[in-house]
Subunit: 353 residues, 2 copies
Amino acid sequence: MSATSPYGAVAAATSATQLGPVLEAGGRELARLLARTEERLAEVIGSYGETLAGYAAGTLAAGGKRLRPILVFVCGGAACDPGAEDEPLCDTPAGTALVHAGAAVELLHMATLVHDDVLDRASLRRGRPTVFSSAGRPAATATGDLLFSRAFAELVATNDVDAVRVLSSASSALARGELMQRSDAWRADVSPDRYLERCELKTARLFEAACRLGALLGRPGRSATDALGAFGARIGVAFQIFDDVLDVAGPAERTGKRRGTDLLDGTVTLPLILARRRDRDLRDLDLREVVTDPAQAEAVCDRIALTGALGEARREALHHVAQAKAALSDLELPAGPRGALDLVADGVVERYS
Amino acid sequence: MSATSPYGAVAAATSATQLGPVLEAGGRELARLLARTEERLAEVIGSYGETLAGYAAGTLAAGGKRLRPILVFVCGGAACDPGAEDEPLCDTPAGTALVHAGAAVELLHMATLVHDDVLDRASLRRGRPTVFSSAGRPAATATGDLLFSRAFAELVATNDVDAVRVLSSASSALARGELMQRSDAWRADVSPDRYLERCELKTARLFEAACRLGALLGRPGRSATDALGAFGARIGVAFQIFDDVLDVAGPAERTGKRRGTDLLDGTVTLPLILARRRDRDLRDLDLREVVTDPAQAEAVCDRIALTGALGEARREALHHVAQAKAALSDLELPAGPRGALDLVADGVVERYS
């Protein structure tokens, strides 16, 4: 398959993660929904002239694995049993609604990436220039706002007001999580509970929204939204914890960034929170004084790793994965979709392991 | 009436504009809807803890005249004939939906103000500290995103997917207008047509949305949305032109800011565009070289005023006001609401005259 086809791009991006088995389980149906989502994203971004397309193309491509749309589709029933006699989901009105939802969650995610890059003055994301670096702060802020607006426009196309409600709630949560992270910056005494609350807001609520949208608009239907939403929220927390572990553990050649970037902007995450309990010297460290360059940040990462906190944090992530699977226990699901959801749950924490 | 009551605050803010007659025409019904909107805005902003409330309180208060919610309510039929026998709008489900819509358009407007202040590094807005100055760039960007999200959440409460569609379209337009303004910065050769397109996107589309929402959710109903939307779009353009005239004409003690602030950030508006046609020296001016401090900006304002371009720009604004009124000619409206809409149309361009 050509690397320039939408599905080729997705496959290439996802191959670096453990979502390969999910794509396999989802088969042709999931692949077609993802390809339609890529087309839709390119259409949305191309519809505002070359300038925006140029700004956002890097972000679009760098977005990578399309985990959130995959959640929409898998929860929407895309990964059904091979023998199922249903009409292919992709050809139904529900399939079209799911594609809108997949594009919407990805646009919202992209909007937050663009704004994050402005705030962090980041010049590269996954090896590509950020909107901030290529267009400057004002254009990048406006581009983020536009992607944000387009996420809602995309979902409105489903004509489902409950779907819009799900997205607006997630979108508020994202901003609140960002506010919380900035107000906690450099505070090494953040409690694990507060850290987990931040993970809920910054990450899990959008995962939850993706799963709810899948249930709402896809095959499972409204009765399954709470269970699938809970599944999404738990794997979202697990994903974020694992992301924070990778920032400390690396390796840089897999993550695409140096270790300790969170420390450099004062973001205190679970590995440090747990390590401070095990190492008095780490507890007494004034982050703002000590971490002023990337080399120092890496040195602190080494100290954190020495305490064994990374293993403890990984176990916490796995605990959330187990909770995610448990959330599905009362849901009547055929073996196919249940297997695919289990693969997603395992995939979010098995990156690079 | 106490200055601390919601209605008192609105009345005080609006008294500086020509919206007084609109408030009078709207009577107790409009006043009650506005008071409920203030309560709702305070509730939304207060619901995220003291930090956000502290950040946003200044913006909430500085928002001032609540012109956009007034458009929602007047188009929704709030300013009805004194003798009308309808149940008071405010006590009906439609009244509640209108309050949600009024709060939504104001939240979206506030979101853009907060982001604008970040980009302009503005420390004061209408004499109050901006979120940017009191909380810093990251918190202000996230606060803007949160207000943005809350605008959609507010409108979703109406359960009307068409209403959400109207807001998401306006919200995309705002961001596109912002992108256009930044990409046109310092380009003195911007054409009048391109300037007007920018006014449409940056300002008029939200005015249009406010009017459409009023029609959709209030008494006029769906059949009136296009006419009232066109009305809103025209007065939005007029409002923006007049705002740009005031930036050149002052007086500063009425506008609350020095003359020439648009020039200082490279925003080329109609007065300069027209003045360049009349004054060859202005045409040859390299803005970026000449306008590097507020005193120089004021000097350029004086040159613009000398050409007579301000009168021409005012006439262009009045032309849009006339078009706004004409857009209503085929609409069956009782004398009361029609009179109130005429007062709004006149009010947006009669500021400080």
